[in-house]
Symmetry: C2
Subunit: 313 residues, 2 copies
């Protein structure tokens, strides 16, 4: 190879033994990780896939140049995006769907919930699944649960084709709204999610950083409020060092139920699940009921920007 | 100059128009900011001082290579380290002391509290004060309050020499526990803080990141519990993109009062202060009473590590 590597690739950010994560989504700033070994570099039909071993964060998955998860801090994101909606539900969930989430971490967290009878995943990129199974066994163990059914397909089409009212719980574990995941931040997808949810059901989507993407979040919240009429739209966040700005948030939308008022997702209603008996399951390390409630408390600048779009309780 | 710049200096991290913040306190990882202009580089008797204009975080103060504050996100740290203790107090504070904090941001926040009659600051490095007044007017406006008295001196000696029981509130706005601030994390200093506090008074100290420095925090909490006998030792944190891992915490210690049970600092008791009439005062953008309570809710991994040292309520 010669010349400059293309922007938005692993090669563009890898220099002198360090990987620096640059993107138009966080201009003028970038997280760097010291790389001990490049374990894998490939390109699927959808994106660039890289796996590196780092000095301080263990093994790291990088898609189109963006850090997706690291051994050391992935538990924060995976636990929160799964248990915030699962524990907010008014009833123990029976059927769950993950859109994206090919690394398996959300599956691992959902599979802690004994009430679930079916856990579907619609991941567009089979290379992400294969990569997780090879390099991230502690996340990919979610795939070993017999309730999990894997669909390697377009997540939007999968949700549009789903039986109306089928899912109690949908987790959208997408990458950033550039590249293949862009459509996962748009109205047709949220209309399909709303349709696929049972009354009183909840969808929780990856929804960027309050510090870097307040305008994106504001637009997303306003769009969700148009779709989840009679239900609720709320926002929560978690801390995680290797995501831009050190935190990432979630849009949590509840579908109206004819026989109940909209749920306030700030209140956990389901117990914290026990660690499954399988020896390889790690204990939960981030989520608890106090963290659940606190995750919805926003700094004043974010509260003021979003309050007109979020549901008031 | 020739050869490699010394570690722990601005020059060591500045390359190709970017500043990368490296330190033994966060090995193998580093935040990078794109620099538009180097506004100042100097060396005081205590540390290297640099000021740069960045593409996305405005003007940035860097001491011994570590990012201290940026125009864009300093309000999070300054508001939280000042108002968490000020609003937790059982009575409106009359006398406050800032140790360190030469940039003036904590003074700005404390000066919002109308009940304060005296606000002392003991900053060891006059160059930091001069630099703030020149390059960070929105922080340095704290110095314009007539209740503020500036002492350019060793903070430990100042606290040791203070009248016993004089202060309702002490904020220790230190840099990291390497270099000049190392002693500000040690027992003799905390014994002096305890002595200088009035019964029921509170000290709030910069106390690093739960994600990167859990062992330092654990030792600090255990030491504080030895000093604040009969009082309380608690931990809270705030989000801030340009500090390592995207968050920073505070050790909040309350001195026992003979006529009251120890205060639980999680509960705000004083009103959120109004913005002073002076036109240059910005509105508060992070702290509110809900944020106050939520700041003490720790992720499970941190709660489990610290619970034996922190006060139970």
């Amino acid at each position: 190879m010669s010349g400059e590597a293309a922007p938005g690739t692993f090669a563009a950010g890898f220099k002198d033994g360090w990987y620096r994560e640059l993107s138009s989504l966080w201009p003028g700033t970038g997280m760097s990780l010291k790389v001990e070994e490049v374990l894998f570099q490939g390109r699927s039909d959808f994106q660039g896939v890289a796996v590196v071993k780092t000095e301080s964060f263990g093994t790291v998955l990088i898609l189109d140049g963006a850090i997706q998860c690291t051994d050391r801090d992935e538990f924060s994101y995976q636990e929160m995006i799964a248990h915030l909606p699962a524990c907010a539900l008014g009833r123990a969930p029976r059927r769950a769907l993950v859109v994206g989430g090919g690394d398996g971490g959300v599956l691992r967290e959902l599979s802690r919930h004994a009430s679930l009878e079916e856990i579907h995943i619609a991941e567009i990129d089979g290379m992400v699944i294969d990569t997780a199974k090879k390099f991230f066994p502690q996340m990919a163990l979610g795939y070993s649960d017999p309730r999990v059914k894997v669909h390697v397909c377009d997540g939007i089409k999968f949700v549009q084709d789903a039986e109306a009212g089928y899912y109690d719980l949908i987790v959208v574990d997408s990458s950033d709204p550039v590249g293949p995941a862009e459509v996962l931040f748009q109205k047709p997808f949220f209309e399909a999610l709303h349709r696929a949810l049972a009354p009183g059901g909840i969808v929780c989507t990856q929804a960027e950083s309050l510090w870097y993407h307040l305008e994106i979040i504001k637009s997303l919240a306003a769009m969700c409020a148009e779709v989840f009429v009679g239900g609720a739209v709320q926002y929560a966040f978690t801390t995680i060092p290797t995501y831009p700005s050190g935190q990432i948030g979630f849009m949590i939308c509840t579908k109206a139920s004819p026989d109940a008022v909209p749920l306030d997702a700030r209140q956990p209603r389901q117990p914290v699940p026990a660690t499954p008996a399988a020896q390889s399951y790690p204990p939960m390390r981030y989520y608890n009921h106090a963290v659940h409630a606190a995750a919805f408390v926003l700094p004043t600048f974010a509260q003021e920007a979003l309050e007109s779009s979020l549901t008031k309780f």
